[in-house]
Amino acid sequence: MSVLKDTAQKALQTAISFVPDRWLPGAEPDPMRTKHGLIGAPVSRVDGPLKVEGKARFAAEVPYENMAYAALACSTISRGRIAALETAKAEAAPGVLLVMTYRNAPRMAPPPVMNSAPKAAGASDLPVMQDADIHWNGEPVALVLAETQEQADYAKSLIRVTYDLEPAITSFDVAKTRAHPPENILGEPSSIEFGDAEAALNGAAHRVDLMYRTPRYNHNAIELHAATVAWEGDKLTIHDATQMVNSTAWTVAQVFGLKEEQVRVLSPYVGGGFGGKCLWNHQILAAAASKLAGRPVRIALSREEVFRIVGGRTTTEQRVAIGAKPDGTLAALIHTGVAAMTTHNSCPEQFTFPARHLYAADTLKVAQDVADMDMVANTFMRAPGESIGTFALECAVDELAETMQLDPIELRRRIEPEKDPTTGHAFSSRNLIEAYRRGAEKFGWDKRDPTPRARRKGEWLIGMGCATATYPYYRMPGGAARIRLTREGRAIVSTAVHEMGMGTSTVQQQHVAARLGMSFDAVTFEYGDSTLPAGSMAGGSSQTASISATIIAATEALTKELLKLAGNDSPLAGLKPDQVEARNGGLCKRDEPDRFESYASILGRSQRQEVTCEASGPLPLEAQKYSMHSYGAQFCEMRVNMVTGETRVSRFLGSFDTGRILNSMTATSQFKGGIIMGLGLALTEETNFDARFGRIMNPSLAEYHVPVHMDVPRIDVIWNDIPDPHSPLGAHGIGEIGITGVGAAVANAVYNATGKRVRELPITLDKLL
C-alpha cells in the first residue's frame, strides 16, 4: 500500500519536474506579493478586545442546559489487561449519572490514524475504551459522569482497578536495540544516501563525529484540553479546542459510524496548540458518555491528564558526522539516529529533514529509525523533527567550524548549496546568508571572541553562539473558501480554519481587504466551524499559505461572476478577468483605472443583494517543483555562573528569511514565541519518563519548567521580507521556524562561555558543573 503510494508519489514528482512553469500554481507570481497597503502592516488583532476582556469563549466555557460533567480514571500500568474493575461505590456516590468502562461503552471503531486518509486525525488507531487491554500508562479506563465536576472527581476516586501485567517496553535503551526504519517519514523516505559518506568522512581533512540526545517534551498550552459535546438525535456537536475541525469531524464520524455531515466541530478560539490540540481520547469518550446519558457533557482534562492522555515530542538519539575539505567545503554529511515511537501512531519525528536540504556536501547519508515503546502516542510538537534535528546538526557545524578555526558563519557561507542537495530542485527563495549577514550586524557578532571562557563579568561567564533555523514550506491540498459580497459593500469570507493565537483572522482580513480593494473593516472572516467550506488544518506552518490560495481561487471566481453580472452597460463591459483588478470597492481595467464600477453598482444594476462564490485552492504542486523552505539565523548571548552553573539568556536575536511578512506585529509575536519555546527546549524543559514503569513523573507545570517572564530577555527579530515568487502572497507560514536552531544557538553560546559542549538537552546546571 505505502510502497504503491511512494511509487505514485515519485512518478508524480518526476512528471512535475517536466511541467512548464506556466502550468503550475504560483508559477505566475501572485501580483499581490509586492503590493502594500495593509499587507505587511502591524494591524492589531481583531480579537484583541475580546481577549483582554475575557470574552473570547473557549471550549470548556460553552454553556448547555442540563449539562453533565466528566472525570477520567486512568491506567497506572503500561501494558496488560484489566483483571477487576470495581465501580459500584462510584456509581452509588452522590450526583453520579453513570460510570462508563469498556463493558458498557458504546461500540466504536478505532479512529483512523493521521496520514492514513486525507482527513484522518487519530493520534493513534488504538480502540478507545473497547476492551480490557491496556496500551500505555495513563490510558483512560473509566469515565464518571455526574451532575457537578466535584461529584465526578470524588466518585472517580472510589473506582478500584486491578490489572494482569504483561511485559512492556518502557526503556528507550531497550527499545532502541530493536529499532527499525519506519515505512516512510511524512511521505519521504526514511533514509537517503548518495556517495559513500562514511568513507568520505574517514578521508576528510577535518571531521567531527558526535552523538546528541534530546528528551521528551510536552506542548503545555495553558488552556487545558477540553470539549463540550451534545447529541441531537443522530447529530453530534463538539465544541472543541482543536487545530483541525474538519479532520476531527470526519474521524469522529468514522468512530461512531456516522456521515461526516452528522458531526459538527466548532473551535473559534484555541488557548494555544503547538501541535497538541488534535483528536485524542477525551473528545471521543465525552461523545460516548453523552450518548449513554442522553445529556450534554463537558470534559476538561487536568494538567496531569494532559500529560498522560495527550502525547508530546518524543525522545531521540542522533549522530551527526561531518567531514570537511581544507577549503571548507564538505566531503561528507551524515545525520542518523533513532526516535521513540509506538506501533499505533504515525509521528516518526523527522529530525533528519534539515540535513536533507541545508548544506552542500559531496556525499550524504541520512537515515532515521524508530524504536517502538509502550507509551502514550507521541505526536507533532512545534517543528517536530526540525527543532531537535537542528539542535544536533547546528551544534555539529559549530564544532566543525572550531576544528577548522573558521568563523561558524563563514563556514556556512562555504557550504551554501546552489540547488537542493537531495532533490536537485531549484530553491524557490533562499536567502539564508543574507539573514546571517543582517543578523550578525545587528547582534554585534564581530565582538565575539572565538576562544571559550574569554569573557567574564564577576562570577558570570559570557558567550555568544549562532545556528541556522529552517522549516519547510507546506501548503495543504483540499481547502476551499467562500466569499459573500453584499450590496452594502461588505465581504464575508468563510473557511473552516483555526485561530490559536497566530493572528489568522487578522491577517486574512488584511489579505481579503487588499485583494478585493476594500477597507479592512468592510471584511469579516468566519472560521473555526466544520460546517463552513472545508479549511486547512493548523499544522506544519501551512495554514496561511493554504488559506491564501483558497481565497485567491475564490476571488478569481468572484471576479468572473461580477464581470458576468456587470453586463454590457458597465464600463467593464467586454473585459476578461485577467484584464481587471480590484480597487476602491470595485473593479477597474488594470491599465485604464477610469474604467471602473463599484461592487455596489454592479450588484444594484443586476438587482442582486449579494453574490457568493466558493472555490478550492489548486494542488500544492509548487512544492514538488521547487525546494521551498524557510530559513533563519539565530543569535544567542548566554551568561553562565561559574559557581552554580546557572544559565541566563542575556540577549537573543532571530533573523528570518520566510518570504513576505503579512503582519509585522503578529509575525514578531510568532517568531518570538517560537524562540521562547526554543529557550525552554534548550534549558529547562524535559518530560521525565520512568524507564521502569513507563509513567511520566513530572506531569505538572510546577515540575515541567516552561520559560517564565524572568527567563526571557528582550528578544530582537528581523526579517529579509523577500517575497517567494512561488507562494500565495509571496509568504511562508512562520509558526514553527522560530523554535528551530534555538537549541543549538544556546548550546553554542554556552560552549563559547564555558568551554563545555553539552550534547544532551536540556542544558541544566548539573551538566555545567
Binding site: G54, A221, I222, Y269, V270, R303, T668, S700, A702, P707
Partner: protein
C-alpha cells in the same frame, strides 16, 4: 453567604469543595478567569481579592464570604477598557489570549505592591520605601503568570508603559 464580585453582591449557594475558580466559571458563568493547571502553577486564574492577587484555583469559594473580588470582567469602566487592557492590545501582549486575564489582574496588583514598597527577590535595596518598576523587578514579580505562546516581551512593554505613565 455572599461575596461581592465586580461590585455586585453575589449569593453563594455551593458545595464546600468548590474552588473560587470553579465558582466563578461554572456557577456564575464568569469564564474570563481561566483554568490552566488547577494547582497554582500557571497563574491563569489570578483574580483580585480586596485588591490583592490570588490564584483562584487554590482557594475555596467559601473562604471568601464578605470579600470583594475583581475578575477580568470587572476591569473595564463604563464600557471603556482599562489602560492596561488597551496597552496589551497595542503591544501585542498575547497570542491565544488564554493567560491574558490572569496576566492583567496580576499586573494590576503587582503595580500596587510596588507602590507600597513591598520588596521582591531581586530588589537590591530592601530599606527603600518604593521599589522600582524596572525590567528585572517586573519580570520577577510576573513570573507566576505563565504564557506558553511567549508574549512576554509584549506583556512587559504593556505593563511598563501603563504604570510608568500613571502610578497605580
Amino acid at each position: 453567604m455572599h461575596c461581592t464580585i465586580n461590585g455586585n453582591r453575589t449569593e453563594m449557594v455551593i458545595d464546600p469543595r468548590t474552588s473560587l475558580l470553579d465558582f466563578l466559571r461554572d456557577h456564575l458563568g464568569l469564564t474570563g478567569t481561566k483554568k490552566g493547571c488547577n494547582q497554582g502553577a500557571c497563574g491563569a486564574c489570578t483574580v483580585l481579592v480586596d485588591g490583592e492577587r490570588i490564584n483562584a484555583c487554590l482557594a475555596f469559594a467559601v473562604q471568601y464570604q464578605g470579600r470583594s473580588i475583581t475578575t477580568v470582567e470587572g476591569l473595564s469602566r463604563g464600557g471603556a477598557l482599562h489602560p492596561l487592557q488597551q496597552a496589551f492590545i497595542k503591544h501585542d501582549g498575547f497570542q491565544c489570549g488564554y493567560c491574558t486575564p490572569g496576566q492583567l489582574c496580576s499586573a494590576i496588583a503587582m503595580a500596587n505592591e510596588i507602590e507600597r514598597g513591598i520588596p521582591s527577590f531581586v530588589t537590591k535595596n530592601l530599606s527603600t520605601e518604593t521599589a522600582l518598576l524596572d525590567h528585572d523587578e517586573l519580570r520577577e514579580r510576573m513570573s507566576g503568570n505563565l504564557c506558553r505562546c511567549g508574549a512576554y516581551n509584549g506583556i512587559v512593554e504593556a505593563i511598563s508603559e501603563t504604570f510608568a505613565k500613571e502610578p497605580a
